[in-house]
């Protein structure tokens, strides 16, 4: 796809409430490439929490609002592979056999995960203005598997010349978030989060980034509890924040 003149931005409910600075950074990255960013105020949540809990009807009611919120035929950029995957992969299933199937397919076809959009559509390249830094890039499972876009985030970071990425042990493994899984199966989730956090911490990296706020909330929370002293743990941020911070002249 060629660079579009404008895109929709679907911020996701988690970033809306917990990590809005990541959403802002993502939108600034897009704007700086000369793209007009439209943030419809009618957007809410993709519906995934209910969908993954088996409450399809409730999920559909919420998902339908997102079909309403992004009507024009322009790309929809999402700073989360999990929410992007919900729309791109699951909406067509969720709306199968309903009158909204056509609209769901139309939206699904236009959805891009942020790093995938930056790397593949915009061929994003910027000068790294930051100090030398070591980073762990935790790929969310949705980026790695459901969306298959993990490569994009890796490529983007590789284009920052003062940045070194470190690979933790069992890098392919899930961080244990899994949305409602972390509440329904707290012990298993915590065991996974503990292993992942320790693997990341033992790389000694200064920063942990991911494409997904869910993983960051899970890992950031676990790291904070494990290492109360901030100097003992990596700073945790969304990949959009890191890309923006390091390439933007204040």
């Amino acid at each position: 796809m060629d660079k579009p003149a404008s895109v929709y931005f679907f911020g996701t409910c988690l970033i809306d409430m917990i990590l809005p600075q990541a959403g802002l950074a993502a939108m600034r990255l897009l704007q700086r490439e000369g793209i007009k960013v439209v943030y419809p105020q009618g957007q809410t949540c993709c519906g995934q929490p209910a969908y993954n809990s088996g409450y399809d009807k409730e999920a559909r009611a919420v998902a339908r609002r997102q079909l309403d919120a992004f009507p024009r035929d322009i790309p929809v950029v999402v700073p989360s592979a999990s929410c992007a995957g919900m729309i791109k992969v699951q909406y067509p299933r969720l709306f199968a056999g309903t009158p909204d199937k056509g609209r769901a397919d139309h939206l699904a076809a236009r959805v891009y995960e942020l790093t995938d959009f930056l790397a593949r559509v915009l061929d994003w390249r910027r000068k790294d203005l930051g100090e030398p830094i070591t980073v762990v890039l935790h790929h969310s499972c949705s980026a790695r598997r459901e969306m298959g876009v993990a490569e994009a985030a890796t490529v983007l970071l590789s284009r920052l010349e003062h940045l070194e990425t470190l690979e933790p042990d069992h890098a392919h493994e899930c961080c244990g978030f899994g949305g409602t899984f972390s509440v329904k199966q707290p012990e298993i989730s915590a065991a996974m989060a503990a292993d992942k956090s320790m693997a990341i911490a033992s790389t000694g990296a200064q920063v942990l980034v991911s494409q997904d706020g869910g993983c960051l909330m899970n890992l950031g929370g676990t790291l904070t509890r494990r290492f109360p002293d901030p100097s003992q743990r990596p700073a945790v941020k969304h990949i959009a924040e890191l890309l923006w911070e390091r390439t933007h002249e204040p």
Binding site: Q21, V38, C45, Y55, S142, F181
Partner: protein
């Protein structure tokens, strides 16, 4: 989460030794599989083929089963149909009784575990002896398999040495693997020579030729199926495939996915009892085809895909939940992702509804499945079945997991998120009153610092930046 499941999870997570053993074994198997498929393109083609072959078999299941029966009978294999585990056990018992067998040797068979065959035979005064090394160890320890390929994978060498020393003090086996294996071999040989009957599972049953294919690495399977006078094979009805030429791709998918082997040490192709002039082989071969709920699964076009499974175990080897809990915590014969999809369908979602929830839906299982079973999608489907049965669903216990309180929470959640004005109002309020939000969020914050609500939502920030646009 049911109290029983919570207790088992707690025990599993608290057992450092078992966790270490399982993790080490899983890491090894993951690596072996990875090395066994160096060519990604070949793997893609093979998986597609595997899916098609198994899908074709399931699409024609009744016809293929009839063809299998016909061709087995023509080969001299007697075919029995068992609708339930009890029926299957009864059939096996009848055959054994007819031959006056008091001892029966067994090759590894998950279907016989599903039937509870050992306990049944013991209650009837017949001694079953497991001859697969892992199963033999478990029989000594009076435990069930924790993995479908490596049943005793949760045990380390020292535990096995201790078991052997307690049970067979007269055989000095030491603590090294060679010594232990030699001791097991010595003990089993005596049984191989004495048993009148042998029981085995089946990996694939070929309809066009009436052939039972059985893979193994220890040779015990071949001994169980050829030395005794009678061989009884127990087999789930879904294991049938149409043609012999479909076997090689499935075998290579199976062995490489399971243990990273290009092929197993033994590949047994059983096509009937001993014929005139032949020097060895059993006088009788029986095939017990077990339904035990599979027909019901088969009737659902989406859920049916779980019956494509060729029992390689790759889904559990790659599962972050299984690799922390091990198989016993699941409380079912089949653990891991395959079990979490299959068992609630066989036993009812009202009984085993916790299992589909015990997944972060990370997708690792679906990514490695050699026959491309969409395991995460099926787990999600079963969650939905637990809440409300889909139209035409036959899942046992559908709708049984809907609780009024949860229903109310999701209804409210839906109401708020389906109404942008309400959503903005409430999220705006939450950012204003963020200091009121509790810093402890129940189970979440037992091990994590709670997330902090931002002072201004992205909706507000975007509006302030004039990003509405429309």
């Amino acid at each position: 989460m049911s109290p029983e499941f919570r207790v088992r999870v707690g025990q599993a997570l608290g057992n450092e030794r078992v966790r270490r053993n399982i993790r080490r074994a899983m890491d090894g198997l993951v690596l072996k599989r990875c090395k066994a498929f160096p060519d990604e393109h070949e793997l893609t083609v093979l998986r597609r083929r595997g899916k098609l072959i198994r899908g074709h078999a399931l699409a024609n299941l009744p016809d293929l089963l009839r063809e299998l029966e016909r061709n087995c009978e023509r080969n001299g294999i007697r075919v029995h149909w068992a609708e339930t585990a009890e029926e299957g056990n009864g059939i096996v018992l009848d055959i054994l009784r007819r031959h006056g067998a008091e001892l029966v040797i067994k090759g590894k068979s998950m279907v016989s575990e599903e039937m509870g065959l050992n306990a049944y035979l013991e209650a009837q005064g017949i001694e079953p002896v497991e001859t697969d090394l892992g199963e033999f160890i478990l029989q000594l320890a009076d435990e069930r398999p924790s993995h479908i390929i490596g049943p005793a994978i949760h045990k380390d060498r020292l535990e096995v040495a201790e078991l052997f020393a307690n049970h067979f003090p007269e055989i000095p086996s030491g603590e090294d693997i060679e010594g232990l294996t030699a001791a097991a071999r010595q003990i089993m040989r005596e049984y191989f020579g004495r048993a009148l009957a042998g029981i085995s599972g089946v990996n694939f049953a070929v309809a066009e030729t009436g052939t039972l294919c059985l893979v193994e690495n220890e040779g015990n399977g071949r001994l169980c199926t050829t030395v005794p006078q009678v061989h009884i094979a127990v087999c789930g009805i879904e294991k049938v495939i149409a043609r012999l030429d479909q076997l090689p791709p499935l075998l290579t998918l199976l062995t490489r996915s399971a243990t990273g082997q290009p092929i197993t040490t033994y590949v047994n192709m059983i096509s009937g009892p001993r014929r005139e002039g032949e020097l060895d082989g059993p006088g009788e071969v029986h095939l017990v085809l077990l339904d035990n709920g599979r027909s019901r699964v088969h009737a659902d076009r989406e859920l049916r895909s779980i019956l494509r499974c060729i029992r390689c175990g790759a889904c559990m080897n790659h599962c972050p939940v299984y690799s922390r809990l091990g198989g016993h915590a699941y409380g079912t014969v089949y653990p891991g992702p395959i079990g979490s999809v299959l068992e609630p369908q066989l036993q009812g979602i009202d009984r085993l509804g916790d299992l589909p929830d015990a997944s972060s839906l990370c997708g690792a299982c679906g990514e490695v499945c050699p026959v491309r079973i969409p395991l995460p999608g099926l787990l999600r489907r079963l969650r939905a079945e637990g809440i409300r049965g889909r139209k035409g669903s036959r899942v046992i216990g559908r709708g049984s997991r809907r609780k009024p309180m949860h229903q109310l929470i999701w209804a409210l959640w839906s109401r708020v998120n389906a109404c942008p004005v309400l959503y903005r109002g409430l999220t705006g309020l939450a950012t204003r009153l963020r200091w009121l939000v509790p810093t402890s969020l129940g189970p979440w914050s037992r091990t994590r610092a709670a997330p902090v609500i931002a002072p201004r939502s992205l909706h507000e920030l975007a509006r302030a930046e004039g990003l509405e646009g429309e």
